[in-house]
Symmetry: C2
Subunit: 346 residues, 2 copies
């Protein structure tokens, strides 16, 4: 537990700045008086790219390394070609800082409607690998733009990369009451990557005899996500499957407005980054309509990562109580942030 926090803040595009402002408000309210919070803002995203053509200059990447953690709002705008900011900034950060654990909890909070009938019991966490798979950028095309174009994408999986995230997932499962870990892959088709994952999953499992294990193909996992989400406790999966499953998980557990995430380097060699799962939603930006709750819950993950467990838990309880007691009137971004800050300080 640190007595001071140096936080890099990347508000980003669209609703990013609005939700980050609320996240910081709640963070300040949650921190004990004697913990010093220093923030430094980084101007990255679509605006910056339009102005300078830069996505994430090396000099800024270097400076970011000096912080304890990073809070990111959202990156992206339709005016920027698809992939430029994603590959040039978001993924660049995840790779440069070796964020191999992409942590995404899903919980159906009280008084929150699921699109699933009967509002099932949902409380699981996805541990998504963050530095390998088809995200590595080892693709290319030849004869581009011609009728003979071939475009390849390579999914790279290493024993090193798989083992560390699988072990992290086992440890998280071990620490939860149900102690259940499900591996999701597609090892009947992607046999080489799939068998690597499955073999390591089985081997590391021997170190965690109390954890019950399960394997599902990714297609079957999406079925259970809508027919029986209560069966999941901890899920570990590759970068792409994790991307898909966590959006689906967010949708069934009350919507992307509540989904938090952490891009974590458990070794602490580099700062970890926390961000809501949702995007920049330019259509509602600047109108006070964005729900900052996912960002606030990401702040809780950030605090937990930095060793401030009581404060993290207090934020999560505040969100839970706030959702349970909210009325039917629509609240602005600011009002939700204020309500949460009051509860947390309270």
């Amino acid at each position: 537990m640190s007595r001071s926090i140096s936080l890099a803040v990347i508000p980003g595009d669209g609703i990013g700045p609005e939700v980050v402002a609320q996240g910081l408000k709640v963070l300040s309210a949650a921190l004990p008086q004697d913990v010093k919070l220093e923030t430094e803002e980084y101007d990255l995203g679509a605006r910056r790219w339009h102005a300078t053509g830069e996505t994430l200059p090396d000099e800024e990447l270097e400076r970011l390394k000096g912080h304890d953690a990073i809070l990111l709002g959202a990156i992206g705008d339709p005016s920027v070609p698809s992939g430029v900011l994603e590959r040039g900034m978001l993924l660049k950060l995840r790779f440069a800082f070796d964020h191999f654990v992409n942590l995404r909890p899903s919980k159906l909070f009280p008084n929150t409607a699921s699109p699933l009938a009967g509002d099932p019991d949902i409380d699981f966490v996805v541990v998504r690998e963050g530095t390998e798979g088809p995200y590595v950028g080892n693709g290319g095309s030849i004869r581009t733009g011609t009728p003979h174009e071939i475009a390849n994408e390579v999914s790279v999986n290493t024993a090193h990369g798989v083992e560390r995230v699988v072990r992290d997932a086992y440890a998280r499962a071990q620490a939860r009451p149900r102690k259940k870990l499900t591996l999701v892959h597609k090892n009947n088709v992607l046999v080489h990557a799939g068998h690597l994952w499955k073999n390591i999953f089985d081997r590391v499992g021997q170190e965690f005899p109390e954890v019950t294990t399960d394997y599902l193909h990714v297609d079957a996992a999406t079925i259970f996500m809508v027919t029986d989400p209560a069966r999941f406790d901890v899920i570990v999966t590759d970068n792409l499957f994790g991307d898909i499953l966590t959006d689906l998980a967010a949708a069934v557990s009350g919507g992307i407005g509540l989904a938090a995430s952490g891009n974590i380097n458990p070794t602490r060699a580099f700062p970890s980054m926390f961000e809501p799962v949702h995007g920049s939603a330019p259509d509602i930006a600047g109108q006070g309509k964005a729900d900052p709750t996912a960002t606030v819950l990401s702040v809780a993950l950030l605090l937990r990562h930095l060793g401030h467990e009581p404060e993290a838990a207090r934020i999560e309880e505040a969100v839970s109580a706030d959702l349970a007691e909210r009325g039917t009137s629509t609240r602005t971004t600011d009002e939700i942030g204020d309500a949460l800050a009051v509860r947390v300080a309270g």
Copy 2:
């Protein structure tokens, strides 16, 4: 429209033989008296592999070519290592017969419960590419089984392969009342493959000015699948995304027990293959518990492909009426098949 049908039948494993028997029963009932149906059974699947070590010998592949179409029940058993039958038989057939259109309709039938609240209006079809993407088998591993293992999987995408399936999807969208086509990919991360898909999607779209188009990242598509499935009319997507989305689509539209599919070669250079989306379900095999409806609906797709549109429509109407009027008592596989055959003949 053919006056005779030579059909290859692959009952396969688990519940495969049971559901195929009902599919054939309904097929016979649906065909006009003057259409001659000849069937030849192929013993392929887990049993065969255990007995002989063979998955799909070349000689049988050759013989299969001589038929007008193939009806497949289900392949697979936990006793066979993952990937052996999938790669050695199912995918081998799809690749050898160039089944580039993997057609998977989703419809919420009357009196059928969706796991989604409010039983939304669901009536769309996924056109999944069937011969490329990460399914090509261009993967491998080095230092296998050591702490330094690297396992790669290559997704191969060609202009030729993408254009033909995209054009097929546009034609299907054009023929439907809503005339809407959604491309699903992940072109912000898989930029090379993604841009190939998007460029061809946009270019071919110029030939279909009446079709409204839309693009979604695969993660966002799973969200809409549970929050607003009515927005979909025709979806075109790559092999892996299509695999994932169609299982999810089956789940939200009443379950995998109702999901039909066709592995189609529209050029008719090779026989097309029709199969339920579900697997061999060894846990309920031989107990008369399997729902043969997905197989019966696959028979409808088969008939439509062979030019027997009225018979195909009659089967689909029979299924719809059967589901609408079924009581609350559980019916056996046989009883459902009988009920459908009577309606179709009727």
